[in-house]
């Protein structure tokens, strides 16, 4: 089983040189720490910055410079600031090559639910609906099952949707899955996790084609 950090590390392998990337809150944020050596990627935060850097030192904190998680950040050389309409123009206009975000549920046809649990306090979708509806390339980072051990990889989402037919790839603590016609194609297993383990944790249709390799780090 992968740790959250390892999920982020595995997703970082999907990065390509020259990509602009939007990372959601939680595990996705960690991806920024594992950019492959020599690769240039630039991070967009939907509140209005391209070229987001690491957290500031205590002396460099600027209340006017935060990311979409409202965390204080820094800007790298070559960064730019812009308004929210321009920010989502980048997202909706598919100028951002990769979006990584968390999910509560993903379904066989690529639907994603990650913003609302009926009966619980609704915090709002923030930029998630724009991101999932627009991105050409969406990777979901999440645990394969919920705290009660129930699969989050489903035939059909039970929670209110954030977007339909948009998820392309899922990296969980157990596996790398690709959303294809007919279900979830198992691409890789986590170290020491068997295909049977993954099958058991997957409620949606799992497509197993040939020998499934173990992830490499």
């Amino acid at each position: 089983m992968l740790s959250k950090i390892q999920i982020a590390q595995r997703i970082a392998q999907e990065l390509q040189n020259g990509w602009y990337v939007n990372l959601g809150i939680g595990i996705p944020t960690l991806v920024a720490n594992y950019i492959p050596e020599g690769m240039e990627v630039e991070f967009q935060s939907e509140n209005g910055i391209l070229g987001m850097g690491s957290f500031p030192t205590e002396e460099n904190i600027d209340a006017d410079l935060v990311n979409a998680g409202k965390q204080t950040i820094t800007a790298l050389p070559g960064a730019s600031y812009f308004d929210s309409a321009t920010s989502f123009a980048m997202i909706r206009g598919q100028h951002v090559q990769l979006t990584v975000l968390g999910a509560m549920e993903v379904s066989e046809n690529g639907d994603i639910a990650n913003w609302k649990i009926p009966g619980k306090m609704v915090k709002g979708m923030g930029g998630a609906m724009d991101l999932v509806a627009s991105a050409e390339n969406i990777i979901v980072a999440m645990m394969h099952t919920n705290k009660r051990g129930e699969s989050k990889i489903l035939t059909k989402c039970s929670l209110p949707l954030t977007g339909v037919g948009c998820v392309k790839k899922i990296v969980t603590n157990l596996a790398v899955l690709e959303v294809v016609k007919g279900g979830f194609k198992l691409l890789e297993r986590a170290p020491d996790v068997s295909v049977e383990d993954i099958q058991k944790a997957t409620e949606g249709n799992l497509i197993i084609d040939g020998v499934i390799p173990e992830m490499r780090f």
């Binding site: 509140n47 904190i61 929210s84 989502f88 977007g163």
Partner: protein
């Protein structure tokens, strides 16, 4: 063109019970602190507030929520506020949640005379309920309408007497679009300078969108998530 008003009281003159107010800012970043305090002081009620977030319990729009001045919030994310949650669950507060990009674009559309536009965001979700769906380039989109407000209140870094505004870093966020979409737009700035001192090439919000401008007395600029590296 002199847009300067003497103080925050004068700036907020005419804001009345039941009005729709847009407020710039993302979280607590770039919010019009002085004007929010004045709204608390004025005790205007039954406001509809359009703002990406709803502040925290004791700062930003949270201050208006504490005093039950807000009837309805139109936002994209409201998750940092216990009083908000209580009022929402009890039904005291109406909440209209809008995807962040659609919120930004709807404000811009309101300011730009575009009454409606198609966006893919929210298709197939409850956001799309009751909205027209149309396919473009093989992809379904929903029709979203413009947002405007009786007053828009924005916060900038620098402003001049002609109402031109420059924002700082990510404190820009929703401020420029909301400045466009207010019937009356109030700008509070950290530094107010004479017309001619700002480079016309560096202005983010041209003065035509601003009706009243003043320099805020103080800015606390509270930080929500203080994150540092060592």
């Amino acid at each position: 063109m002199n847009k300067v008003v003497n103080n925050v009281e004068e700036a907020c003159k005419g804001i009345e019970d039941g009005m729709t107010i847009m407020l710039g800012g993302f979280g607590l970043c770039g919010i019009p602190e002085n004007s929010i305090s004045e709204l608390v002081k004025k005790d205007v009620k039954n406001l509809t507030c359009i703002s990406n977030n709803a502040g925290v319990d004791d700062f930003g729009l949270g201050l208006l929520l504490q005093k039950h001045q807000i009837k309805k919030m139109i936002s994209s994310y409201v998750g940092e506020n216990d009083e908000f949650e209580r009022q929402m669950l009890s039904g005291e507060l109406e909440v209209d949640l809008i995807p962040q990009g659609s919120l930004a674009e709807r404000c811009r559309a309101g300011g730009a005379g575009i009454p409606a536009f198609f966006t893919p965001a929210g298709y197939g979700t409850e956001v799309a309920e009751g909205k027209e769906v149309r396919e473009f380039n093989g992809k379904p989109h929903i029709l979203e309408s413009a947002l405007t407000a009786d007053f828009a209140i924005v916060k900038a870094w620098k402003g001049d007497t002609a109402g031109n505004l420059i924002y700082k870093a990510t404190a820009r966020n929703f401020n420029p679009m909301m400045a466009m979409a207010g019937k009356i737009t109030i700008a509070e700035v950290e530094e107010l300078v004479p017309a001619g001192e700002l480079d016309p090439n560096e202005i983010h919000t041209p003065g035509i969108f601003v009706q009243r401008i003043f320099q805020g007395e103080t800015y606390e600029k509270r930080i929500e998530q203080r994150t540092v590296t060592n």
